[in-house]
């Protein structure tokens, strides 16, 4: 399960808890601040939800939290363009662990820190046999500029329109005002083994995934 240990845990938590009943919210643009009508929906869904889940155990709660792509589930395949405009499918990486990190955008401070931290530990990921893939809503040209500016040795995928982000159910931060920063570790069979979410401590994604890969 995702460890949401950012300084905005409360927000993450509320966002996560509402996810199963967020159908109406999710179909809206992922990053818009909830409007008045969706806000009442927001609080309403929290209430109904908590009264509904109170008798169930925490393990089934974990299942409820990540309605889209959960731990233990085979990651759905997708095909997106990389920084060179070449289409890349997730299934191509079957046979080795994959660290797939969703980040808000190229050239923003947290994302630059995160990308550079993945770059600096890239050898360690290779040693663990893992592939690192970054994914955001920026286009291939933006990814190319970002990757060459910071000499990023791994693939950046262009999820224009944030379709994959929505399909995977990556939760937003600050009530949906920010695209979430969430990393998935898939095993060599493409099954999700770790989900880690932390918007404001981007370097922790590297520590947590490396720790997990080493332990696995």
């Amino acid at each position: 399960m995702a460890a949401s240990s950012s300084s905005f845990t409360l927000c993450n938590h509320t966002t996560l808890r509402t996810l199963p009943l967020r159908k109406t919210l999710v179909t809206k643009t992922q990053f818009s601040v909830p409007t008045k009508s969706s806000e009442s929906n927001f609080f309403g869904s929290t209430l109904t939800h908590s009264s509904y889940i109170s008798p169930v155990s925490s393990s089934s709660l974990k299942g409820l939290i990540f309605a889209k792509v959960n731990k233990g589930q085979a990651a759905p395949d997708f095909t997106l363009k990389d920084q060179n405009g070449k289409p890349v499918s997730l299934k191509k990486y079957k046979g080795k662990p994959v660290v797939l990190y969703f980040y808000p955008a190229d050239e923003t401070p947290g994302c630059t820190k995160q990308a550079c931290a993945f770059r600096d530990s890239y050898e360690k990921f290779k040693k663990a046999g893992a592939e690192v893939i970054g994914i955001s809503g920026d286009d291939s040209a933006s990814h190319k500029a970002f990757a060459s500016k910071y000499k990023l040795p791994y693939t950046l995928l262009s999820d224009e329109g944030n379709k994959v982000r929505k399909d995977w159910g990556v939760p937003g931060d600050l009530f949906g005002a920010l695209p979430g920063r969430q990393t998935y570790v898939l095993d060599k069979n493409g099954v999700v083994q770790l989900i880690y979410n932390n918007q404001f401590q981007p370097e922790k994604h590297i520590d947590e995934t490396l720790k997990f890969l080493k332990a696995a």
Binding site: T108, P109, L178, F200
Partner: protein
């Protein structure tokens, strides 16, 4: 624009106080004094002592937060053509290039812009309200905002040239310290924005409040803050450039 093109010389007339500057500072201080008087007299009349004092303390603490938010906003957004605060933005941009200029600026010259703001804000409050607790808050908050540019100038001073009392207050953490504010003038230029007591600096920087706000503005409005871009020559202190070249 001309002010940004070259650093003002120490005898530059733009650093000197004019009578208009002095009048604005006097007007600002008068509105503060009226607010203080209403708080003290009102407090005596209604036998309140603790509440106005606590409100005053809250004013001091919150003024530091206010100075930080304002300083962050004008450092990162807008330019000299921005309505109302354009001159302030231009001045703060110039301040990043020639930080030491503030120490050569005369007192009223440095404070007159904030004194105008205080006059226009506190005068109506003086006329409209009599509550001693409210004025306890207003007078310290407005005093700290008006004098924040003086505290800021002191933060740029050298220990040997500052009055010993100022150094003592800085060392006690009651006024923004020279060390803390020096951090603000180093890359990545995105921290330590508060210039009254500096009490909020660690809180704001560690909780990444400004970073979160910058991200929200970027994703909701598409505006990039200045501190995200590589520091250009306008932001790097000129002495640093010459050091790097040497």
């Amino acid at each position: 624009e001309q002010r940004l093109a070259s650093p003002p010389l120490s005898n530059d007339p733009t650093l000197k106080s004019t009578w208009t500057h002095r009048l604005w500072v006097a007007a600002g201080c008068t509105t503060l004094f009226v607010s203080l008087a209403k708080s003290v007299i009102g407090g005596f009349d209604s036998h309140l002592c603790l509440e106005p004092a606590l409100a005053g303390y809250a004013g001091y603490i919150l003024a530091d937060l206010g100075s930080g938010v304002y300083h962050w906003a004008i450092d990162n957004y807008g330019d000299e053509s921005t309505p109302v605060v354009g001159t302030q933005i231009e001045a703060f941009q110039g301040h990043h290039k020639w930080p030491w200029t503030i120490t050569r600026r005369q007192f009223a010259n440095n404070l007159h812009a904030l004194a105008q703001v205080i006059t226009f804000t506190v005068l109506p409050l003086d006329l409209a309200f009599n509550d001693p607790v409210f004025h306890g808050f207003v007078c310290t908050f407005a005093f700290c905002i008006l004098f924040s540019q003086q505290f800021h100038a002191w933060a740029h001073g050298t220990k040997s040239k500052l009055p010993p009392l100022v150094v003592a207050l800085q060392d006690m953490g009651l006024l923004v310290s020279r060390r803390q504010h020096a951090e603000h003038h180093r890359a990545p230029y995105n921290n330590n924005y508060c210039i009254v007591s500096g009490a909020w600096n660690n809180v704001l920087d560690e909780s990444k409040v400004f970073e979160a706000l910058e991200m929200v503005f970027y994703f909701q409005l598409g505006v990039r803050p200045r501190s995200w871009s590589e520091p250009n020559s306008d932001w790097i202190e000129e002495t640093e450039i010459s050091n790097n070249q040497a």
